[in-house]
């Protein structure tokens, strides 16, 4: 019961955040002076759409946004379109829909980011806890290394990795991994064994560049948590009882994990942003590259759809983390039930 109340309260906050995000997504681009459709058309013509196509876009948008109506009505139209899954038409690929472009790009991004987040988080926490417990040179080198890696922007590591492993240079006689793309140019996505093997070959570099940096960040956080835990009474008591190191480690790890779950929630937003830019470095066929193209082609509908999808994804991820937090930390349920 208490757990349900906790979830309801959380869900309410995220709903509020979603509404704010929708309002920002709708109104920010419309703060530009002038008729939004005219400025959109101006941008579309700059990006190479012509004559008939332009008139088509113009009529379509006047109708879709209901521009002769008030802002509030326009906003409601926008919401109504969203509910029906209608994200509009792309300028750059008129009359292709935005949804179809996103549908193509999204699996690549999810396939890249979800494993990177999960594996990076687990490995990073393990490294941090072990470093804190062991101390000595292992701690010093692991800490400094993690700090360096976590300070490194995702795309910086990506750029260096490409140069070191995927480009012909003085260190490597032959590039060992492909430098860009999600699969060999010329092939088209299918479920054949050869294609999957090819995708995996292209997967390594972007995956590694995300996961290594993420491990660094998590390890730094876990190390300070674990050092703090090492100073607590229960550890001293456990030591006095003669508990084995392994047992003590387990307790420390479990207690140190709690704040790390919150940390994960807070870092998902930054991680997603960083990962989008990493995709650009690798020309990976995901949402990041789509976003980059949309920005360079002034493809407003695609751009707005992507910002919306990123927001929704991050909100959902944060909500899931909060759910997990409520399950693993009994104090939260207790606090909700008013036991404290």
């Amino acid at each position: 019961m208490a757990f349900r109340r906790y979830i309801a309260k959380k869900a309410l906050w995220y709903l509020l955040a979603l509404i704010v995000a929708l309002v920002l997504n709708f109104f920010l681009p419309r703060l530009v002076p002038g008729n939004p459709v005219d400025s959109i058309i101006a941008q579309a013509s700059r990006s190479g759409a012509e004559g008939d196509q332009l008139r088509g876009i113009h009529d379509h948008y006047i109708k879709e946004f209901g521009l002769n109506k008030s802002m509030i009505e326009q906003f409601l139209t926008y919401l109504n379109n969203l509910i029906h899954g209608n994200l509009g038409l792309s300028f750059a690929n008129y009359p292709g829909t935005v949804s179809s472009q996103i549908k193509q790009a999204l699996p690549w991004t999810l396939g890249l980011q979800i494993p990177a987040i999960l594996i990076g988080w687990l490995v990073g926490n393990a490294v941090g806890a072990i470093a804190a417990y062991k101390g000595g040179w292992f701690d010093r080198s692991a800490f400094l290394g993690s700090l360096f890696l976590s300070a490194m922007p995702y795309y910086c590591l990506a750029i260096l990795l490409v140069y070191l492993l995927a480009v012909q240079n003085s260190i490597l006689p032959q590039p060992i991994l492909p430098a860009s793309g999600g699969y060999l140019p010329g092939t088209s996505p299918s479920w054949s064994g050869a294609f999957i093997a090819d995708v995996l070959r292209h997967y390594w570099m972007p995956f590694l560049s995300l996961v290594i940096v993420f491990i660094g960040g998590q390890a730094v956080g876990m190390r300070s948590m674990a050092i703090y835990e090492l100073g607590t009474d229960y550890v001293t008591y456990g030591r006095g009882l003669g508990l084995r190191d392994r047992t003590l480690m387990r307790y420390i790890f479990r207690n140190g994990m709690l704040p790390q779950v919150t940390g994960l929630a807070l870092s998902i937003g930054t991680l997603v942003g960083g990962a989008l830019i990493t995709e650009i470095v690798f020309s990976y066929p995901g949402v990041g590259t789509l976003l980059f193209n949309a920005i360079s082609q002034n493809d407003y509908p695609v751009l707005q759809a992507i910002t919306l999808i990123i927001t929704v994804a991050v909100l959902v991820a944060n909500f899931l983390v909060d759910l997990a937090y409520g399950i693993i930390d009994p104090r939260i349920r207790a606090a909700q039930a008013g036991e404290r």
Binding site: S224, G274, L291, V314
Partner: protein
């Protein structure tokens, strides 16, 4: 000098790194006045030479000159945005934490909502709509998304300071709310706020670079803009390392230096993170809430 001796070795490494980079960005253009960002000194990706020490970029500009001015621009944006977001975050955090009640609920509600929306989304939406991207405008835009976590952290500190005795004394002696907040609450958090500021600067510099890489800042000179053009003109695949390695390394060093400074200061200000045997025993003896480590209960109650 005795107090200084307490700083960990990492502190000196960080200060050294940051000093070098700041000198390079601000004094570099004066010392190496022969190298400018906008001088065309060669063709497409010329190799490093006696004239252009780090070669040329895609339009024949001197990479070394660009690197100096780019470093300066990145530092300026970072400092300005970091300052703005720290000031705004601190004011909101202190007011929410000290005043409490409805004000606290509302300010922190706003903060928490903004905190969950990914900053890159807001930045993209604003920058796409804006036609200018001057240093000040960009700093304000960056700060508009970054102040939130400073506000949340400062609020947690302020609300714990509020219940200390010296605040009661100040209140009884008739000090007004503003006076108490600025003279009795704020000074206790200055070390903490400074650390948050250092992180904000690093965050702003990296955010600027990320936005430039997305192609939202094509004009001007900065480390991110250098990277953007080198990627757009295939420096990576043609092996023109001088076009992308220097800005990559500088960005990494700036971020690393600032993070290292923050973490070593953290250890100075927060003895619980130091791990001599004596301190550990002391910490075990006088156990109380950590000064900086997030408190799970606090987080749970807040959001």
């Amino acid at each position: 000098m005795k107090r200084l001796a307490r700083f960990p070795g990492r502190f000196y490494l960080a200060t050294f790194l940051i000093t070098l980079i700041v000198l390079f960005g601000f004094l570099g253009p004066v010392v190496f006045s022969g190298h400018n960002a906008n001088d065309v000194v060669g063709g497409l990706y010329d190799h490093p030479s006696g004239k252009a020490w780090l070669g040329t970029d895609n339009i024949g500009h001197d990479v070394f000159g660009e690197l100096m001015y780019g470093t300066r621009a990145s530092l300026e944006i970072g400092l300005l945005a970091g300052l703005l977001s720290t000031v705004v975050g601190t004011i909101i955090g202190v007011v929410a934490g000290y005043v409490g009640g409805m004000v606290d609920e509302m300010l922190m509600g706003l903060t928490n909502v903004l905190l969950t929306i990914p900053p890159i989304v807001i930045l993209i939406l604003i920058l796409v709509s804006l036609n200018t991207s001057g240093t000040l405008v960009l700093a304000i835009v960056l700060a508009s998304t970054a102040w939130t976590w400073t506000a949340r952290a400062v609020r947690a500190q302020a609300s714990s300071i509020r219940v200390r005795e010296h605040i009661d004394v100040a209140r009884l002696s008739g000090a007004n709310t503003f006076g108490i907040m600025s003279l009795d609450v704020l000074p206790y958090m200055l070390s903490y706020i400074f650390m948050a500021f250092v992180l904000q600067v690093a965050g702003a510099i990296l955010a600027e670079a990320g936005l430039a890489l997305l192609g939202l800042r094509a004009n001007g000179v900065s480390l991110g803009i250098m990277l953007h053009w080198s990627l757009a003109f295939e420096a990576l695949r043609t092996g023109a390392w001088w076009a992308f390695v220097p800005p990559t390394v500088l960005l990494t060093l700036i971020a690393f230096g600032l993070l290292l400074l923050q973490s070593s200061l953290d250890e100075v200000f927060n003895p619980r993170l130091r791990r001599s045997r004596k301190v550990r025993r002391l910490a075990a003896a006088t156990l109380s809430a950590p000064a900086v480590a997030p408190d799970p209960e606090e987080v749970a109650v807040r959001s």
